[in-house]
Protein backbone atom coordinates (compact mmCIF):
# COMPACT_ATOMS: atom_id res chain seq x y z
CA UNK A 1 0.00 0.00 0.00
CA UNK A 2 2.78 2.37 0.95
CA UNK A 3 4.58 1.65 -2.30
CA UNK A 4 1.40 2.10 -4.27
CA UNK A 5 0.76 5.35 -2.52
CA UNK A 6 4.26 6.54 -3.23
CA UNK A 7 4.05 5.54 -6.89
CA UNK A 8 0.74 7.18 -7.53
CA UNK A 9 1.87 10.28 -5.73
CA UNK A 10 5.01 10.48 -7.77
CA UNK A 11 3.14 9.93 -11.01
CA UNK A 12 0.17 12.16 -10.43
CA UNK A 13 1.07 14.70 -7.87
CA UNK A 14 4.34 16.19 -8.87
CA UNK A 15 2.70 19.50 -9.55
CA UNK A 16 0.98 19.34 -6.21
CA UNK A 17 4.09 19.56 -4.07
CA UNK A 18 4.80 23.04 -5.42
CA UNK A 19 1.22 24.06 -4.85
CA UNK A 20 1.25 22.71 -1.34
CA UNK A 21 4.39 24.66 -0.51
CA UNK A 22 2.77 27.86 -1.73
CA UNK A 23 -0.37 27.21 0.25
CA UNK A 24 1.52 26.57 3.46
CA UNK A 25 3.40 29.81 3.09
CA UNK A 26 0.33 31.88 2.43
CA UNK A 27 -1.57 30.38 5.35
CA UNK A 28 0.48 32.45 7.71
CA UNK A 29 -0.47 35.61 5.89
CA UNK A 30 -4.23 35.25 6.21
CA UNK A 31 -6.01 38.23 7.65
CA UNK A 32 -7.63 37.62 11.02
CA UNK A 33 -11.08 37.99 9.45
CA UNK A 34 -10.26 35.00 7.23
CA UNK A 35 -8.97 33.00 10.15
CA UNK A 36 -12.10 33.77 12.16
CA UNK A 37 -14.44 32.76 9.35
CA UNK A 38 -12.30 29.72 8.63
CA UNK A 39 -12.10 28.48 12.18
CA UNK A 40 -15.68 29.35 13.06
CA UNK A 41 -17.50 29.55 9.75
CA UNK A 42 -21.13 30.60 9.99
CA UNK A 43 -23.92 28.74 8.27
CA UNK A 44 -22.18 25.50 7.39
CA UNK A 45 -24.77 22.95 6.43
CA UNK A 46 -27.23 21.79 3.88
CA UNK A 47 -30.88 22.29 2.93
CA UNK A 48 -33.00 19.82 1.02
CA UNK A 49 -32.25 20.77 -2.55
CA UNK A 50 -35.66 19.48 -3.69
CA UNK A 51 -37.48 21.89 -1.37
CA UNK A 52 -39.36 24.34 -3.68
CA UNK A 53 -38.22 27.24 -1.47
CA UNK A 54 -34.53 26.34 -1.67
CA UNK A 55 -32.13 27.59 -4.32
CA UNK A 56 -28.85 25.72 -4.75
CA UNK A 57 -25.69 27.07 -6.35
CA UNK A 58 -22.88 24.68 -7.10
CA UNK A 59 -19.68 26.16 -8.51
CA UNK A 60 -16.05 25.16 -8.76
CA UNK A 61 -12.62 26.73 -9.22
CA UNK A 62 -10.78 24.22 -11.37
CA UNK A 63 -7.37 25.80 -10.81
CA UNK A 64 -7.38 24.86 -7.14
CA UNK A 65 -9.83 21.97 -7.24
CA UNK A 66 -12.23 23.86 -4.99
CA UNK A 67 -15.95 23.19 -4.95
CA UNK A 68 -18.60 25.33 -3.26
CA UNK A 69 -22.28 24.67 -2.61
CA UNK A 70 -24.32 27.63 -1.45
CA UNK A 71 -28.02 27.32 -0.66
CA UNK A 72 -30.66 29.94 0.06
CA UNK A 73 -34.15 29.64 1.55
CA UNK A 74 -36.50 32.09 -0.08
CA UNK A 75 -39.96 33.18 1.08
CA UNK A 76 -42.90 33.91 -1.23
CA UNK A 77 -41.91 37.60 -1.49
CA UNK A 78 -38.47 36.68 -2.81
CA UNK A 79 -36.61 37.44 0.41
CA UNK A 80 -33.80 35.23 1.61
CA UNK A 81 -34.69 34.00 5.08
CA UNK A 82 -31.79 31.61 5.56
CA UNK A 83 -28.58 30.53 3.85
CA UNK A 84 -26.00 27.82 4.25
CA UNK A 85 -22.94 26.47 2.47
CA UNK A 86 -20.62 23.55 2.15
CA UNK A 87 -17.20 24.33 0.68
CA UNK A 88 -14.21 22.15 0.03
CA UNK A 89 -11.31 24.46 -0.58
CA UNK A 90 -8.73 26.73 0.96
CA UNK A 91 -9.27 29.02 3.93
CA UNK A 92 -10.12 31.96 1.68
CA UNK A 93 -12.80 30.00 -0.16
CA UNK A 94 -14.39 28.84 3.08
CA UNK A 95 -14.22 32.32 4.60
CA UNK A 96 -15.69 33.83 1.42
CA UNK A 97 -18.66 31.48 1.46
CA UNK A 98 -19.15 32.11 5.17
CA UNK A 99 -19.30 35.86 4.54
CA UNK A 100 -21.52 35.42 1.48
CA UNK A 101 -24.11 33.43 3.44
CA UNK A 102 -24.03 36.02 6.24
CA UNK A 103 -24.60 38.85 3.79
CA UNK A 104 -27.42 37.34 1.70
CA UNK A 105 -29.64 36.68 4.72
CA UNK A 106 -32.42 39.27 4.92
CA UNK A 107 -31.79 40.47 1.37
CA UNK A 108 -34.13 39.96 -1.55
CA UNK A 109 -32.83 37.64 -4.25
CA UNK A 110 -32.39 40.63 -6.56
CA UNK A 111 -30.30 42.45 -3.96
CA UNK A 112 -28.28 39.33 -3.26
CA UNK A 113 -26.96 39.10 -6.81
CA UNK A 114 -25.51 42.59 -6.50
CA UNK A 115 -23.00 41.34 -3.91
CA UNK A 116 -19.63 41.68 -5.55
CA UNK A 117 -16.63 39.50 -4.99
CA UNK A 118 -14.55 42.65 -4.53
CA UNK A 119 -16.56 43.56 -1.45
CA UNK A 120 -16.11 40.10 0.02
CA UNK A 121 -12.40 40.21 -0.77
CA UNK A 122 -12.11 43.66 0.79
CA UNK A 123 -13.94 42.58 3.92
CA UNK A 124 -11.56 39.64 4.30
CA UNK A 125 -8.48 41.55 3.08
CA UNK A 126 -7.78 38.79 0.59
CA UNK A 127 -4.50 39.08 -1.31
CA UNK A 128 -4.74 39.33 -5.14
CA UNK A 129 -3.88 35.64 -5.62
CA UNK A 130 -6.93 34.72 -3.57
CA UNK A 131 -9.41 36.98 -5.36
CA UNK A 132 -10.81 34.06 -7.32
CA UNK A 133 -11.94 32.45 -4.05
CA UNK A 134 -14.28 35.37 -3.45
CA UNK A 135 -15.35 35.15 -7.08
CA UNK A 136 -16.42 31.59 -6.34
CA UNK A 137 -18.71 32.94 -3.60
CA UNK A 138 -20.18 35.62 -5.85
CA UNK A 139 -20.87 33.07 -8.56
CA UNK A 140 -22.35 30.65 -6.05
CA UNK A 141 -24.89 33.29 -4.93
CA UNK A 142 -25.80 33.97 -8.56
CA UNK A 143 -26.16 30.27 -9.28
CA UNK A 144 -28.38 29.76 -6.23
CA UNK A 145 -30.64 32.67 -7.25
CA UNK A 146 -30.79 31.35 -10.80
CA UNK A 147 -31.81 27.96 -9.43
CA UNK A 148 -34.66 29.28 -7.29
CA UNK A 149 -35.91 31.49 -10.13
CA UNK A 150 -35.92 28.50 -12.45
CA UNK A 151 -37.74 26.38 -9.87
CA UNK A 152 -40.41 29.04 -9.40
CA UNK A 153 -40.92 29.69 -13.10
CA UNK A 154 -41.26 25.96 -13.66
CA UNK A 155 -43.80 25.74 -10.83
CA UNK A 156 -46.00 28.42 -12.37
Amino acid sequence: MALLRHLSRSVFLRSESLLAATTTRSTRQYHENVVQHYEKPSNVGSFDKNDPNVGTGLVGAPACGDVMKLQIKVDDDGNITDACFKTFGCGSAIASSSVATDWVKGKSIDEAVTIKNKDIAKHLSLPPVKLHCSMLAEDAIKAAVKDIKLKRSNAE
Binding site: M1, L3, E16, G65, F88, M135, D139
Partner: protein, 269 residues
Protein backbone atom coordinates in the same frame (compact mmCIF):
# COMPACT_ATOMS: atom_id res chain seq x y z
CA UNK B 1 0.46 -3.13 -6.85
CA UNK B 2 -1.81 -4.11 -9.71
CA UNK B 3 -2.97 -0.51 -9.97
CA UNK B 4 0.52 0.81 -10.50
CA UNK B 5 1.29 -1.81 -13.13
CA UNK B 6 -1.75 -0.69 -15.04
CA UNK B 7 -0.60 2.87 -14.72
CA UNK B 8 2.76 2.19 -16.26
CA UNK B 9 1.16 0.05 -18.96
CA UNK B 10 -1.01 2.93 -20.03
CA UNK B 11 1.96 5.24 -19.91
CA UNK B 12 3.84 3.00 -22.27
CA UNK B 13 1.06 2.79 -24.79
CA UNK B 14 1.89 5.03 -27.66
CA UNK B 15 -0.90 6.73 -29.52
CA UNK B 16 -1.39 8.71 -32.65
CA UNK B 17 0.32 12.02 -33.10
CA UNK B 18 -1.46 15.17 -32.03
CA UNK B 19 -3.21 17.15 -34.66
CA UNK B 20 -0.62 19.87 -34.64
CA UNK B 21 -2.82 22.36 -36.51
CA UNK B 22 -5.21 22.30 -33.58
CA UNK B 23 -2.36 22.90 -31.18
CA UNK B 24 -1.08 25.79 -33.21
CA UNK B 25 -4.21 27.79 -32.76
CA UNK B 26 -3.83 31.18 -31.21
CA UNK B 27 -6.01 32.27 -28.38
CA UNK B 28 -6.66 35.70 -26.99
CA UNK B 29 -8.01 36.76 -23.64
CA UNK B 30 -11.31 35.20 -22.75
CA UNK B 31 -14.01 36.37 -20.36
CA UNK B 32 -13.05 34.53 -17.19
CA UNK B 33 -16.33 33.29 -15.85
CA UNK B 34 -18.00 31.33 -18.58
CA UNK B 35 -18.87 27.75 -17.92
CA UNK B 36 -16.02 25.51 -18.92
CA UNK B 37 -17.72 24.25 -22.04
CA UNK B 38 -18.56 27.76 -23.17
CA UNK B 39 -15.07 28.90 -22.33
CA UNK B 40 -13.45 26.29 -24.44
CA UNK B 41 -15.88 27.07 -27.26
CA UNK B 42 -14.78 30.67 -27.16
CA UNK B 43 -11.15 29.68 -26.98
CA UNK B 44 -11.41 27.45 -29.96
CA UNK B 45 -13.60 29.76 -32.01
CA UNK B 46 -11.10 32.54 -31.50
CA UNK B 47 -8.25 30.33 -32.48
CA UNK B 48 -7.23 31.44 -35.92
CA UNK B 49 -3.67 32.20 -36.88
CA UNK B 50 -0.78 29.86 -36.53
CA UNK B 51 1.78 30.56 -33.84
CA UNK B 52 4.78 28.43 -32.93
CA UNK B 53 3.92 25.21 -31.20
CA UNK B 54 3.55 25.66 -27.47
CA UNK B 55 3.98 29.39 -27.51
CA UNK B 56 3.82 29.68 -23.73
CA UNK B 57 6.91 27.52 -23.47
CA UNK B 58 8.44 29.56 -26.22
CA UNK B 59 8.01 32.77 -24.23
CA UNK B 60 9.34 31.05 -21.18
CA UNK B 61 12.55 30.13 -22.94
CA UNK B 62 12.99 33.57 -24.37
CA UNK B 63 12.85 35.16 -20.95
CA UNK B 64 14.95 32.34 -19.61
CA UNK B 65 17.68 33.08 -22.14
CA UNK B 66 17.47 36.81 -21.62
CA UNK B 67 18.23 36.20 -17.99
CA UNK B 68 21.34 34.26 -18.84
CA UNK B 69 22.60 37.37 -20.61
CA UNK B 70 24.48 35.49 -23.27
CA UNK B 71 23.35 37.58 -26.21
CA UNK B 72 22.19 36.03 -29.47
CA UNK B 73 20.15 32.97 -28.77
CA UNK B 74 20.21 31.50 -32.25
CA UNK B 75 23.95 31.40 -32.64
CA UNK B 76 26.69 29.71 -30.65
CA UNK B 77 28.14 32.24 -28.20
CA UNK B 78 31.64 30.87 -28.78
CA UNK B 79 32.07 30.11 -32.47
CA UNK B 80 29.01 31.93 -33.83
CA UNK B 81 27.69 29.04 -35.85
CA UNK B 82 23.96 28.79 -36.16
CA UNK B 83 22.18 26.48 -33.77
CA UNK B 84 19.09 24.51 -34.62
CA UNK B 85 16.62 22.49 -32.59
CA UNK B 86 18.85 19.45 -32.74
CA UNK B 87 21.53 21.24 -30.70
CA UNK B 88 19.84 21.93 -27.41
CA UNK B 89 22.76 21.58 -25.14
CA UNK B 90 26.07 21.69 -26.99
CA UNK B 91 27.24 23.51 -30.11
CA UNK B 92 27.37 21.12 -33.05
CA UNK B 93 30.51 22.84 -34.38
CA UNK B 94 32.73 23.59 -31.40
CA UNK B 95 31.09 21.51 -28.69
CA UNK B 96 30.69 24.22 -26.02
CA UNK B 97 27.70 24.29 -23.68
CA UNK B 98 24.83 26.47 -24.94
CA UNK B 99 22.16 28.38 -23.04
CA UNK B 100 18.63 26.92 -23.28
CA UNK B 101 17.14 27.32 -26.73
CA UNK B 102 14.19 29.68 -27.12
CA UNK B 103 12.88 27.49 -29.93
CA UNK B 104 12.30 24.36 -27.89
CA UNK B 105 9.42 23.03 -25.88
CA UNK B 106 9.74 20.32 -23.24
CA UNK B 107 9.21 17.55 -25.78
CA UNK B 108 12.05 18.93 -27.88
CA UNK B 109 14.29 19.38 -24.86
CA UNK B 110 14.01 15.64 -24.32
CA UNK B 111 13.92 14.95 -28.06
CA UNK B 112 10.58 13.14 -27.90
CA UNK B 113 7.48 13.20 -30.11
CA UNK B 114 4.89 15.72 -28.84
CA UNK B 115 2.22 13.19 -27.94
CA UNK B 116 0.34 12.70 -24.69
CA UNK B 117 1.32 9.05 -24.32
CA UNK B 118 5.00 9.69 -23.87
CA UNK B 119 7.36 6.78 -23.37
CA UNK B 120 8.19 6.89 -19.65
CA UNK B 121 11.20 4.59 -20.01
CA UNK B 122 12.58 6.86 -22.68
CA UNK B 123 12.22 9.84 -20.33
CA UNK B 124 14.22 8.03 -17.65
CA UNK B 125 16.96 7.15 -20.12
CA UNK B 126 17.14 10.73 -21.42
CA UNK B 127 17.26 12.07 -17.89
CA UNK B 128 20.17 9.84 -16.93
CA UNK B 129 22.15 10.67 -20.06
CA UNK B 130 21.56 14.41 -19.80
CA UNK B 131 22.31 14.54 -16.09
CA UNK B 132 25.70 13.01 -16.86
CA UNK B 133 26.37 15.38 -19.73
CA UNK B 134 25.34 18.45 -17.75
CA UNK B 135 26.83 17.42 -14.41
CA UNK B 136 28.55 20.31 -12.60
CA UNK B 137 31.76 18.24 -12.25
CA UNK B 138 32.21 18.37 -16.00
CA UNK B 139 32.24 22.17 -15.91
CA UNK B 140 34.42 22.76 -12.87
CA UNK B 141 37.31 23.98 -15.02
CA UNK B 142 35.10 26.10 -17.28
CA UNK B 143 34.12 29.76 -16.98
CA UNK B 144 31.42 30.95 -14.60
CA UNK B 145 29.16 31.70 -17.57
CA UNK B 146 29.46 28.17 -18.86
CA UNK B 147 28.81 26.75 -15.42
CA UNK B 148 25.70 28.92 -15.27
CA UNK B 149 24.52 27.68 -18.67
CA UNK B 150 25.00 24.07 -17.63
CA UNK B 151 23.05 24.75 -14.45
CA UNK B 152 20.21 26.40 -16.37
CA UNK B 153 20.11 23.57 -18.88
CA UNK B 154 20.08 21.04 -16.10
CA UNK B 155 17.22 22.83 -14.32
CA UNK B 156 15.33 22.93 -17.60
CA UNK B 157 15.81 19.20 -18.15
CA UNK B 158 14.53 18.50 -14.65
CA UNK B 159 11.49 20.68 -15.20
CA UNK B 160 10.77 19.06 -18.58
CA UNK B 161 11.03 15.61 -17.01
CA UNK B 162 8.79 16.56 -14.09
CA UNK B 163 6.11 17.93 -16.41
CA UNK B 164 6.21 15.12 -18.96
CA UNK B 165 6.19 12.40 -16.32
CA UNK B 166 3.04 13.66 -14.64
CA UNK B 167 -0.19 12.81 -16.49
CA UNK B 168 -1.80 15.94 -15.11
CA UNK B 169 1.00 18.43 -15.67
CA UNK B 170 1.65 16.99 -19.12
CA UNK B 171 -1.98 17.54 -20.09
CA UNK B 172 -1.95 21.05 -18.62
CA UNK B 173 1.25 21.83 -20.49
CA UNK B 174 -0.05 20.55 -23.83
CA UNK B 175 -3.27 22.51 -23.38
CA UNK B 176 -1.27 25.60 -22.49
CA UNK B 177 0.56 25.14 -25.75
CA UNK B 178 -2.81 25.17 -27.49
CA UNK B 179 -3.63 28.40 -25.63
CA UNK B 180 -5.98 26.83 -23.10
CA UNK B 181 -5.23 27.44 -19.45
CA UNK B 182 -6.83 24.93 -17.10
CA UNK B 183 -4.27 24.81 -14.29
CA UNK B 184 -2.98 27.47 -11.95
CA UNK B 185 -3.41 30.20 -14.54
CA UNK B 186 -7.14 29.50 -14.88
CA UNK B 187 -8.83 32.13 -12.77
CA UNK B 188 -12.43 31.51 -13.68
CA UNK B 189 -15.11 29.41 -12.11
CA UNK B 190 -17.09 26.59 -13.63
CA UNK B 191 -20.66 25.39 -13.34
CA UNK B 192 -20.47 21.80 -14.41
CA UNK B 193 -23.20 20.21 -12.26
CA UNK B 194 -22.35 16.62 -13.12
CA UNK B 195 -18.67 16.95 -12.23
CA UNK B 196 -19.14 19.22 -9.23
CA UNK B 197 -21.88 17.08 -7.75
CA UNK B 198 -19.64 14.04 -8.00
CA UNK B 199 -16.71 15.90 -6.43
CA UNK B 200 -18.91 17.22 -3.64
CA UNK B 201 -20.24 13.77 -2.83
CA UNK B 202 -16.79 12.22 -2.78
CA UNK B 203 -15.32 15.00 -0.65
CA UNK B 204 -18.18 14.62 1.84
CA UNK B 205 -17.72 10.86 1.98
CA UNK B 206 -14.01 11.32 2.68
CA UNK B 207 -14.73 13.87 5.36
CA UNK B 208 -17.20 11.53 7.04
CA UNK B 209 -15.05 8.43 6.62
CA UNK B 210 -14.02 6.88 9.88
CA UNK B 211 -10.61 5.26 9.71
CA UNK B 212 -8.47 3.61 7.06
CA UNK B 213 -10.89 0.76 6.42
CA UNK B 214 -13.43 3.13 5.00
CA UNK B 215 -10.84 5.20 3.18
CA UNK B 216 -9.07 2.36 1.36
CA UNK B 217 -11.97 1.50 -0.97
CA UNK B 218 -12.28 5.21 -1.74
CA UNK B 219 -8.59 5.24 -2.59
CA UNK B 220 -9.05 2.30 -4.96
CA UNK B 221 -12.04 3.94 -6.58
CA UNK B 222 -10.11 7.18 -6.96
CA UNK B 223 -7.16 5.38 -8.57
CA UNK B 224 -9.51 3.72 -11.05
CA UNK B 225 -11.07 7.07 -11.86
CA UNK B 226 -7.64 8.63 -12.36
CA UNK B 227 -6.69 5.86 -14.77
CA UNK B 228 -9.97 6.26 -16.59
CA UNK B 229 -9.46 9.99 -16.76
CA UNK B 230 -5.98 9.57 -18.17
CA UNK B 231 -7.31 7.29 -20.89
CA UNK B 232 -9.93 9.89 -21.77
CA UNK B 233 -7.37 12.70 -21.92
CA UNK B 234 -5.12 10.52 -24.02
CA UNK B 235 -7.92 9.64 -26.45
CA UNK B 236 -8.98 13.27 -26.72
CA UNK B 237 -5.45 14.40 -27.54
CA UNK B 238 -5.04 11.54 -30.00
CA UNK B 239 -8.21 12.72 -31.76
CA UNK B 240 -6.97 16.30 -31.74
CA UNK B 241 -10.02 17.23 -29.67
CA UNK B 242 -8.60 19.91 -27.36
CA UNK B 243 -12.02 20.87 -26.02
CA UNK B 244 -12.57 17.39 -24.71
CA UNK B 245 -8.97 17.19 -23.47
CA UNK B 246 -9.45 20.42 -21.52
CA UNK B 247 -12.73 19.25 -20.06
CA UNK B 248 -11.26 15.95 -18.97
CA UNK B 249 -8.08 17.56 -17.61
CA UNK B 250 -10.20 19.71 -15.32
CA UNK B 251 -11.85 16.52 -14.12
CA UNK B 252 -8.40 15.06 -13.51
CA UNK B 253 -7.45 18.11 -11.47
CA UNK B 254 -10.41 17.47 -9.21
CA UNK B 255 -9.58 13.77 -8.98
CA UNK B 256 -6.00 14.57 -7.99
CA UNK B 257 -7.32 16.90 -5.31
CA UNK B 258 -9.54 14.08 -4.05
CA UNK B 259 -6.54 11.75 -4.10
CA UNK B 260 -4.61 14.29 -2.03
CA UNK B 261 -7.39 14.54 0.50
CA UNK B 262 -7.65 10.78 0.91
CA UNK B 263 -3.89 10.39 1.32
CA UNK B 264 -3.71 13.17 3.88
CA UNK B 265 -6.45 11.57 5.89
CA UNK B 266 -5.00 8.07 5.49
CA UNK B 267 -1.61 9.09 6.81
CA UNK B 268 -3.07 11.04 9.70
CA UNK B 269 -5.26 8.22 11.00
Amino acid sequence: MRGSNNLSLILRTSRAILASDVLRQRVHSVPPRLTQAARVDVLVSRATHATPFLSAAHDFYRSYCDRTGTGGVNACWSCGSRRDVSTHFFCASCGVILPPSPESNYFEVLNMPPIYDVDQDDISTKLRTLQLQLHPDRFSSKSKEEQGMAENQSALVNEAVAVLRSPLRRAQYMLQGAGIEVGEGHEGTIEDPELLMEVMEQRMAIEEADGDEELRPMRQHNLQQLEESRKQVSAAFADGNVQEAAHETIRMQYLVKISDTILDKLSST
